[in-house]
Amino acid sequence: MSRELTIWLLVFVVGVITYTTRVSFIALFARRSMPPLLAKALKHVPAAMLTAIVIPAVAFSAPGVLQLPPSNTKLVAALVAAGVAWWRQNTMLTMAVGMAALWLLQYLVG
């Protein structure tokens, strides 16, 4: 099978998978009510999943290599950005300060 054909096949198979996961519970709970325990658990989805996405992106310098500050410039920049997010709750400002912090730290660390 040529690479191009493989990719087209993947597009449709994985497209079905991503759409199915997205629509899953929205369709399931369209007509029936949600079990109370599930409803309680769902309140914590944003904090839990955002943490699980963010932490590996800032704590590891390479897959499996945990790196701590100050040599981990991404983690320091992320902490600066977190401070800005707490102080101002402004997404654009958080991103701008975080990127600026990263560039400055990388310049300083050389």
């Binding site: 690479r3 191009e4 493989t6 990719i7 087209w8 993947l10 597009v11 198979v13 994985v14 497209g15 998978i17 991503t18 996961t21 997205r22 629509v23 899953s24 519970f25 929205i26 369709a27 709970f29 369209a30 949600m34 325990l37 599930l38 409803a39 658990a41 769902l42 309140k43 914590h44 989805v45 944003p46 904090a47 839990a48 999943m49 955002l50 943490t51 699980a52 996405i53 963010v54 932490i55 590996p56 992106a57 800032v58 704590a59 499996g64 945990l66 991404k74 992320a78 950005a81 997010a85 707490w86 709750q89 402004n90 997404t91 654009m92 958080t94 991103m95 975080g98 990127m99 990263l102």
Partner: protein, 233 residues
Amino acid sequence: MRTYFSRAAFFEGARDSVPMLIGVTPFGIVCGVGAVAAGASTLAALAMSMIMFSGAAQIVATQLLVAGAPFAVVVLSCLVVSLRLLMYSAAMAPYLRPLDHRWRSLLAFVLTDQAFAGTLQRFRDSDDVRANASYFLGGGAMLWMIWQVATLVGVLAGQLIPTSWHLEFVVPLCFIAVLVPLLHDRVSVLVFAVSATAVIALDAMPLRLSMICGGLLGIAAGVIGEKIMPPNE
């Protein structure tokens, strides 16, 4: 279809999605670069972004293709990185319930990390289903369009952007901006601490399963924490 459409809320959602759009652009560019590296034509690379519409699945798929993984392994890996979407779907379900079938199907298609992170608070704060649905659609439609543009930029000019700029770092920064304000009570801080510890401790798991497991442990900690800790603030 029109019954739930509010033009004003649609454009408000589109406007409020701007920080998220900036956040996904480098990610989309990376997806375009990855697709080219995996041997995709420009059209196939765009089809990935239009139909899969998931940066995590697209990156995993292209990396595994480059590594020569069998088709079934690529599909399975994409399924695993998509499991978090099940949780977003469940979290959105109660809010989309009053809508009709077509609206639910359409909004499900634009349910992404960014759309979820950017709009859940609005659904929690407001009971206006019509405005909320249109707001979500506005942000989701913008994200989808920018995703295609960014992919195309990645396919055509991705090599021109120096990696030393670390533009991909805006992706976690964008999520930090949403996450930090959520941590305003003890239970949320507990959820954060457990998720963070678990995702680091479980990093050796294959197929990035650590992310979904870390998230589930954090959610479990939240449910237990709410039972045993008296509510404060």
